[in-house]
């Protein structure tokens, strides 16, 4: 399989009044062509910062890259100038956001918003632009597109707005679509519609998708591979079946155990994860999950574990999975 995007040892920090926030701390992963990779984690774990840094959407300052490369089709996009990025954004890599109300311009007609990027880059005539806008609304199944392109965002429902966002993102047929919590603000029945639409579009255009979400049901539905993130670091990565059927990291296991399932007995209690994620002003030097982990050992506090591969596609970062873990565990469990 061909790699479309490769992120190598990415570290992003924010300089704030109180000091440096290390939001992303050495993250490496790749996205193949035509596949959907889910980035899962709780708020503040750095998943949105990772996504925004691929698009170079972070305000710099306060944000800055501490290290790393983001290779998109082999070229490092961190080194690109703002002008070069403008050519990549929208045409090669697109993004859809969580809240379709605040990410559309309330004072601009929908049709114009859809083709805004194209008109700028490709110099379309007004009639071509209108035709393109109608085509795009048809693609995302918005009824009556001829009438809809002349309307404003407030005349659209939440689900329809998210369809418009997808139309905007897909207008120049990007190779990579980053979807940051695309259905979190929507109701379940509308969410099901939007997820289906994203799958259809992916099949039609062979788009790769990075899906950022905290909803494990959506992950199970959409993704080929799953990356679990915690406190700015990757904890585990595998195919969707490996992660859901055979999670190796205690955090992944706890995360899966903390959501109620429809087939679960109601007398079972949920596995809550006690405590809260660490403070990223002063991130722990060892495993960041250390103080919430039931299986933590002395070494976990001191050193961050390396990746331990279970299969070619499945790794976890946990000392428990280290080949020598058994002997370490004896007598030194905290």
């Amino acid at each position: 399989m061909e790699k479309l995007l490769e992120v190598k040892d990415l570290a992003v920090s924010f300089q704030t009044f109180f000091g440096e926030v290390e939001a992303v701390r050495g993250v490496s992963f790749h996205v193949n062509k035509k596949e959907t990779v889910a980035l899962v984690g709780e708020s503040g774990c750095g998943k949105s910062v990772t996504a925004s840094s691929i698009m170079q959407l972070l305000p710099m300052p306060p944000a800055f890259y501490k290290s790393g490369q983001i290779l998109f089709e082999g070229e490092d996009i961190i080194k690109k100038s703002e002008k070069e990025m403008q050519q990549i954004r929208g045409s090669q890599i697109s993004m859809i956001f969580q809240d379709p109300m605040t990410s559309l311009n309330p004072t601009m007609k929908i049709g114009k918003q859809i083709v805004e990027g194209l008109v700028k880059n490709k110099k379309l005539s007004p009639s071509e632009a209108e035709k393109k806008a109608i085509d795009m609304l048809n693609l995302v199944s918005v009824p009556q597109p001829e009438k809809r392109i002349k309307q404003y965002p407030h005349e659209f429902s939440g689900g329809m707005r998210q369809r418009v966002m997808i139309a905007i993102a897909m207008v120049s047929n990007p190779k990579l679509l980053i979807a940051d919590e695309p259905t979190t603000a929507l109701d379940v029945t509308v969410q099901a519609q939007i997820l289906d639409l994203m799958k259809e579009i992916q099949n039609q255009f062979d788009t790769s998708i990075i899906l950022i979400t905290h909803d494990l049901g959506v992950v199970a539905d959409m993704s080929d591979r799953v990356i679990v993130m915690y406190a700015g670091q990757l904890m585990e990565e595998g195919t969707v079946y490996e992660i859901f059927k055979n999670p190796k990291h205690p955090y992944t296991r706890k995360l899966l155990g903390s959501v109620p399932r429809l087939d679960m007995d109601r007398s079972e209690s949920l596995h809550s994860i006690e405590g809260t994620p660490p403070d990223l002003y002063a991130p722990p030097k060892g495993c960041p999950f250390f103080d919430r982990c039931d299986e933590a050992m002395v070494i976990c506090k001191e050193y961050m574990p390396e990746r331990e591969y279970h299969t070619d596609t499945h790794y976890s970062c946990c000392w428990l999975n280290h080949p020598m873990a058994k002997s370490v565990a004896e007598g030194s469990v905290v």
Binding site: G158, V188, A192, V218, A220, Y241, R261
Partner: protein, 320 residues
Amino acid sequence: MVEPLVSVRNIKKYFDVGEGELKAVDDVSFDIYPKETFGLVGESGCGKSTAARTIIRLYEPTGGQMFFEGVNIYELSRHEMQDMRRNFQMIFQDPYASLNPRMTVEEIVSEPLRVHHIYDNSKERRDRVIQLLELVGLNEEHSLRFPHEFSGGQRQRIGIARALALNPKFIVCDEPISALDVSIQAQVVNLLKRLQDELGLTYLFIAHDLSMVRYISDRVGVMYLGHLAEVASSEELYDNPIHPYTKALLSAIPIPDPEIQRSRRRIILEGDVPSPINPEDNCRFADRCPYAIKICKEIAPELEEIEKDHFVACHRANDM
């Protein structure tokens, strides 16, 4: 036969919105029994929060009756209502907006005690506050801090402590966990369950996360556009849904298991929830319902007992 603690009868709440009448809650009736959790689910705008607020008379009802231990609280005077309010409390969705940022935790939790003049001296009041904080998993040291010093989950605990201050019997939980992260959600839900066992509380639990509602509720009501579509015990509702809307809603929840999720057949509803402003007096779901027949577009169905303790408002309930 156990008497219901809360009996809601034909409550209505309409809002005047200029373009007409917004019928947020239209003729909703159900019972909640002592020490049970009644879940109310539905999509945004279906009227579940308005129903809850109307039930405890935070909104003045447009019509209907609400019996709390046999007393119709809608007929009480302002003064009588104030005394009655000790019996029911509310936990809000947004733990950031529902705590006054300028008050300390002690002031927040003791406010209901002060309003209702429960203790004469501040020492006793403070002891009660600390007892409440310990009950929800916080401690004395937290009492002098301000809300901004707490995480979302801890703030929700403060909100719960405040709700428990007056020893209420009935608590309305309006999406208490939807603003929290999954790992924290489980903490709060486990806390609510433990408190229910220890204190014998009755909950009205509102949420749009259907798997969480199934987990926490004994019985569940499904709302659609101001009407109650179906009421049943949670196992029954999830195993044997009858109303076409309930079926669609349940099938739309993504299950966190790739094998099950990818193999099941899903009902994808067309379109969006219609506007609740001046709705027609038919089945509110008729336009999106794949089973709708002529009568559905003419008359609104009544909530009927189709099987024992399983109520459905659908003209075709017996064909489903």
